[in-house]
C-alpha cells in the first residue's frame, strides 16, 4: 500500500458497530471516540470533585484554579447577563481540549470528522440565536438585523450562516490539517521531529482551537445580547 493510499484509508469516513464484531447499530467512528472522551471527562470530574472541602487542598485546589480561570475568561466576555451560557462554553472547551489532543496518543481526533465540527458550530449558532431572542424578545431580535443601517441587513442575515460555517471550518481545517501533517512527518522523519511537531500541532494548536472555538462562541453570544442605543 502506498503512503497516499494509507493516508486516504485513514482519512476515510468510517461507520463502526457499537459492539465490535456484531453487526448491530452503526455509528460514526468519531461518535465512539466522543463517548470515550465523555467517559474520560466524567471520570476525571469524579476524581477531582471527590471529597471536596471548604479549604481546598491538592487536586481540589488544582481543579478550582483551572475551572476558575476558564470561568473568569468567559465571565469577562459575557458578564452577568450572559452568565448562564458559561456551563455550555465550559463543556465545549473541555470536550474540544481533550478531543484535539487525542492525536498525541495515536487516536484520531473526533474533530477531524467534519460532522463533529459542524454539529458543534450548529449548537453554537443555536445558542447565539437563543441568547439574542431571549435577551431582546423575538420582535426586537428580528428588527435588530437592520442595525446599524438597513443597507447591511442582508449581511446581518448572512451572518447566521457565516458564523457557524467559519467556526466549523476553522476547527475542522486546523485539526484535519494538523492530523495530515503529523501523519506525513511520522512517515518521513520518524525520529525526534514528530515530538517537536506534535508539541505544536497536537498540544498548542489543539488547545488553541478549543479556546478559539469557545471564545468566538462567547463573543457571538455577547454580541447577540448587546444593547444598541
Amino acid at each position: 500500500m502506498s503512503m497516499g493510499e494509507e493516508l486516504s484509508e485513514k482519512l476515510a469516513y468510517k461507520m463502526v458497530d457499537i459492539i465490535p464484531g456484531a453487526a448491530t447499530f452503526k455509528v460514526p467512528q468519531s461518535c465512539i471516540t466522543t463517548w470515550g472522551v465523555m467517559l474520560a471527562l466524567v471520570l476525571l470530574a469524579i476524581f477531582f470533585t471527590r471529597k471536596m472541602e471548604i479549604v481546598p487542598k491538592g487536586r481540589q485546589a488544582l481543579l478550582e484554579c483551572f475551572m476558575g480561570m476558564l470561568y473568569k475568561v468567559f465571565y469577562g466576555i459575557l458578564g452577568e447577563k450572559g452568565k448562564r451560557f458559561i456551563p455550555y462554553l465550559l463543556t465545549v472547551i473541555l470536550y474540544l481540549g481533550v478531543s484535539n489532543m487525542l492525536g498525541l496518543i495515536g487516536i484520531q481526533p473526533p474533530t477531524k470528522d467534519m460532522n463533529v465540527a459542524a454539529g458543534l458550530a450548529l449548537t453554537s449558532i443555536v445558542m447565539v440565536i437563543y441568547a439574542g431572542i431571549s435577551y431582546r424578545g423575538f420582535g426586537a431580535w428580528v428588527k435588530h438585523f437592520k442595525y446599524p443601517n438597513a443597507i447591511i441587513t442582508p449581511l446581518n442575515v448572512l451572518e447566521i450562516g457565516i458564523k457557524p460555517l467559519s467556526l466549523c471550518m476553522r476547527l475542522y481545517g486546523n485539526i484535519l490539517g494538523a492530523y495530515i501533517i503529523m501523519e506525513l512527518i511520522i512517515r518521513s522523519l520518524p525520529a525526534v521531529v514528530p515530538l517537536l511537531a506534535s508539541a505544536y500541532f497536537d498540544i498548542f494548536d489543539g488547545l488553541l482551537q478549543a479556546f478559539v472555538f469557545s471564545f468566538l462562541t462567547s463573543m457571538y453570544i455577547n454580541e447577540a445580547m448587546e444593547d444598541e442605543d
Binding site: L11, L41, T49, Y88, L90, V116
Partner: protein, 161 residues
Amino acid sequence: MLTLNWNVFWIVFNLIVLFFLLKIFLFKPIKNIMDKRTELIQGEIDSAETKNREAGELKDKYEASLSSAKEESAQIVSNAKDRANVQYDQIVDKANADAKQIMEQAHKTAELDREQLMRSAQSELADVAMAAAVKLIGESVNDESNRAMLDRYLAGEGSDR
C-alpha cells in the same frame, strides 16, 4: 473526508449528554463548595463585625459606668461632707442650747435658793422680833394678829430693801 450528513446530530446529542453529565459531576460540586465557602467567609466576616460592635458597645458601657462611678463617688463624698457639716452644726447648736439651759437652770436654782433663804430669814426675823416684843411687853399678845402685823411690816421692810 469532506463528509457532511445526518450524523451531525450524533455530536449534538453527545454534546447535550456531556453538558448534563458535566453539570452533575463537575459544575454542581464546584458551585456547591464555592457557595459553602462564600457562606462560611461571609459568616466569619459577619460574626467578626458583630463581635467588634459588641466589644465597642461594651467599651462604651464600661467607660460610661466608670465615669458615672467617679461621679457617684464624688457625690457620695460631698454628700458625706454635707451631712457631716449639718451634724456638726446640730451638735454645736445642741451643745450651746444645753449649756444655756444648764446656765438658766443654775440661775433659777440660785434664785430659788436665795428666795427661800430670804423667806426663812424673814420668818426667823419675825420670830426674833416677836420674841423681842414679847420680852419687851412682857406678855404674849394676841399671837395671831401680832404675827400678821409683824409679817406685813417685815414684808414692807423687805420690799424696800
